[in-house]
Symmetry: D3
């Protein structure tokens, strides 16, 4: 049975990027885990980081719960928000440890050309750790070698210039929108006018645009970085 791991730089990226796909996986009975690199604790004009981190973690538990993910499949690395660093050996090792323990057959991460620095760095970190986790070297990070066969990149902050895979999420769009509503700390209501906010109606826009270009409905778009088998 497939095992799906989603890596998010901040809580909410996992829903924005591939929430509709996550709902497909859980509906089909596949185990889905989420690895949060940071808890996004600097993302508020008013709530202090030591308060916001726990709040966003609770929001994440609720949001992914809407999508059918069990709370005990969430992993929190708690790298400081803004501090994801592909050159940090401990961060690389921590991701390796999760990969070797969870043993995903399918990995989602931010696409590597996202306009957000944190997302680009998260993608680089995933790719580096996924390469090293598959080697028998580095036993100090635990577990045996695990080669993740398929790796996709999702879009959040910047659209993907030329998507390779599009998943039709028309049937799970409402679950995705509902899940995003759990992230109330990230709305304009919480942050003030003029801030980015894709909770609510905007959550439909990018998927609607992707759908309109490819025959209708709503779709999530992905880059493909590794493919384990050719679909036949």
């Amino acid at each position: 049975m497939s095992r799906v791991l989603v890596v998010a730089a901040h809580p909410d990226d996992e829903v924005l990027g591939c929430g509709g796909s996550i709902a497909h996986h859980t509906t089909a009975g596949r185990t889905v885990g989420v690895l949060y690199l940071t808890s996004g604790e600097h993302a508020s004009p008013t709530v202090a980081p030591d308060q916001l981190g726990p709040i966003r973690e609770q929001e994440a538990i609720a949001a992914t719960g809407v999508l059918g993910v069990a709370a005990d499949e969430l992993t929190w690395l708690r790298i400081p928000d803004g501090g994801v660093d592909v050159r940090d050996s401990d961060q690389v090792g921590a991701v390796m440890t999760v990969l070797r323990r969870f043993q995903p057959t399918l990995l989602y991460m931010p696409h590597p050309d996202d306009g957000s620095f944190d997302h680009r760095e998260a993608a680089a970190l995933c790719l580096r750790a996924a390469g090293m986790a598959g080697s028998a070297n580095f036993p100090e990070w635990g577990g045996g070698p695990w080669w993740t066969p398929t790796i996709l990149g999702y879009e959040v902050w910047s659209p993907i210039a030329d998507p390779v895979y599009l998943e039709d999420i028309t049937d799970t769009l409402e679950a995705k929108v509902t899940a995003l509503w759990c992230y109330r700390s990230q709305t304009q209501t919480a942050k003030g006018a003029g801030q980015a906010d894709y909770v609510g109606e905007p959550a439909r826009y990018l998927a609607g645009y992707r759908g309109a270009m490819t025959g209708g409905g709503f779709r999530e778009a992905f880059t493909v970085h590794r493919l384990g088998t050719v679909p036949l």
Copy 2:
């Protein structure tokens, strides 16, 4: 007074890419022209090209009319649909002739990394012609040299990876949506299910996504290829 020229590979690209911005220009009293490279006459499963070309031209007159563009400011090169070619000297010359006659201060074209081959070729053709039109050489294409100071690229088929300019079109979105409705030959009603169709609600999606990422409302996104002056 500024003069604005929009280059479209096919009728409807001008509205999809920058219809909301066009409405701003006409409202402000600026002259807006549109140069249609092809008339998009192969874009139907049922209507023959020699019929579809004139239909789409009529749709374009109606659509741009909604945006405030005068019909006599539309130019039709009637390059065969699918045949835009940056290496064709006659095509390059024909665009040069239009640039020297219309003398735009602001030029819109498809962005050069669009996934549509025709759009990419149209962008290359615009950039080549704009470079040559500014030279005193090539008198055979008429007019004196005209250097277009500012050139922007709009998004249609593929989103721009990293937009440089975003225009808030919240106030002209409805005009854009209404203009797109004029292109009835390009809807799923006309073409059948499963075809790309962004007439109607989907016309709001990309602009809504761009807006959500930058503070709300609806925005059109652009690349910048030449800038005549720095805004101060």
Copy 3:
């Protein structure tokens, strides 16, 4: 049942690029077709083009026969060798016609960054035609719309910088080597010392290198341009 189409700029590219994978498909009972854009008739220092074209076509029939491909699944466009041109509407249409008739679920083509101009142009031609073939537009090229769900790029002249998919061909390597031996017109014996020649032992090298880097055996490497479903 899956249907597999391989596009080759010249006879022998299909074996060099994905001959081991072809043997997998035919062994599994899938229909495999090959579309030869040119017949490679200029690839000899001594045999005239009007003779070499038919010779290479016969070699191709023999070679793909070794891999289990039926001779009547081979299509010859006979574009002049060296003349593949993504801007040529008739070439684009001819490829569209083949795609709509053969209806592949999996398409192989040269990868788009190959050092050979002809291979790069063949890749661009495939991608443009595959995009247009999926549209209900362009009925003049026959058939109904056909959207090829999965497209892979194989390596021949230049290696792929960062392969996304690797197929283990250890079990079909000998069939691939045998198939290549059918292309006797392309050997140093035929052409003289100092010419490129990967018939024989060299046919194992690139696959051996790819295998060595990923755990042993022999592998064919691919880029991925479209993916129809995520392997689970």
Copy 4:
């Protein structure tokens, strides 16, 4: 009234990259500030870093004074020379603090493809900080959110492959040359033969080349990373 901020990796970059443009801004009465990331204290074969830093700061005060910049508009971050690092949260925060306090409407930085590692890192740091400064998040770095509407990249060590904006500095070239003479610690007289040196006549060369290609005179060339409004 516009407010202009120039970010320099080392003292002298601001004059080399956009000294002629700075003189335009000050002449027009706009406030111009300069943010020096490092004080360039390792740029001498003979003067010790703890002496050279203060020397180059004094040179900078003199040089920008020639261009009409007030000494109290210069900010010194004093990151160790060679140590600019887009991944360093404190550096990112320090730049954010300056952006929110100075509130530039126009920002100049090194262009992101400069051959100098330090310049590329400075560009990345500016873009990251400019993105974060515009968010209501990160109140710990002071001030309210400030979105810098227009960001240009200037050329110093490597020319820009394809400039988007060119400013005619024929009228301020002599001021730029005079300003560069203030950086006496960076001349071959100070460093010895064989070292890079564009104080004096060489200060005219790149601007002269840019001018020659575009109609005469002297020009500074820029990339454009954000544009606040379209010039009309």
Copy 5:
């Protein structure tokens, strides 16, 4: 003895791009040939193409004569100005014929990222022809196979982002400037104010900038596309 071939899209590119280096080669007794793809006959606001072509050819004979190139080593393909096309088999073949006859050991061409469409296309044409000329195939273009071991790209319209080789031309700069004066049809005197013009003083600027960045004097900058041997 080395044989040097310079490919120019238009007469004057050879001097602008590598005139100082040409003078080094002729001084050292090496045979230098120039292949002019077009005769640049559209490069005047007032002189008709059928007159300008011969004028520029005479200018080229004079200019390269200043640099020590014999007039009978110049080859004129007379492709229509603006019509260089890497996809045109006859153009590819014509360049192959010249390469196989002249047998250069060192080839100069425009660098492939030049902002001029014609220059980019000329570079692509050179690389394609140089690849094919080295093959024993294509006997129809005459001569035996010739593999040009070293290929450099020079800069004219756009600077090279990251030069690999810099030749010190301080000692031949005056010859280069003198040679450029032969191209009187290309000056502002001939064409009018506001046109690009690097005859005269501007001819020193780019070389002066390259020199200033690398220790003084004047230098020509190059990309390297093939290298025959490693200098030791």
Copy 6:
């Protein structure tokens, strides 16, 4: 007399990437040194890092000895395996110190687009240090300025997309293969099935592929980043 320095991220990269070329240099009497950035101490599933580092250093002494390199020309920086970092001033300085002391006329490094993160970072580190070592600045890292005239990139983990230089190593291939056998800690025998392993027969594959494409025999492929003189 030329002096050759090879930079390796891990012991064995120097042989894999350019072992055949090294043998040419030592046979010709040139001094060859190797700078090992790390000792690759994490590259084993069973041997602890503090044991593996010394083992791999001994393997390196043996391997390079096979190629004719003197043991006292090997330098060990002992950066932690996985920790090469172009942003680390001490690492940059340490490489500068070696460059200024060894004074190479020819430098080999990993090519900058290698799929291995460590190799890419090593390439960036070499290029940064080589740029700084040539300046009279930075006397704190010892020696006088040293400008390395020629820098090549070799291929190990990922092939070079478009090699600029190919060295025929047919005559030194066996020495290269023998040298690789010295790295017994890196074989599947040592690490287990399924791990990358190019000791033995696989050591011939990439060179054999490069040879087959260019006339036969075995070749090592290189990128070229700096060129000191043009071969004539």
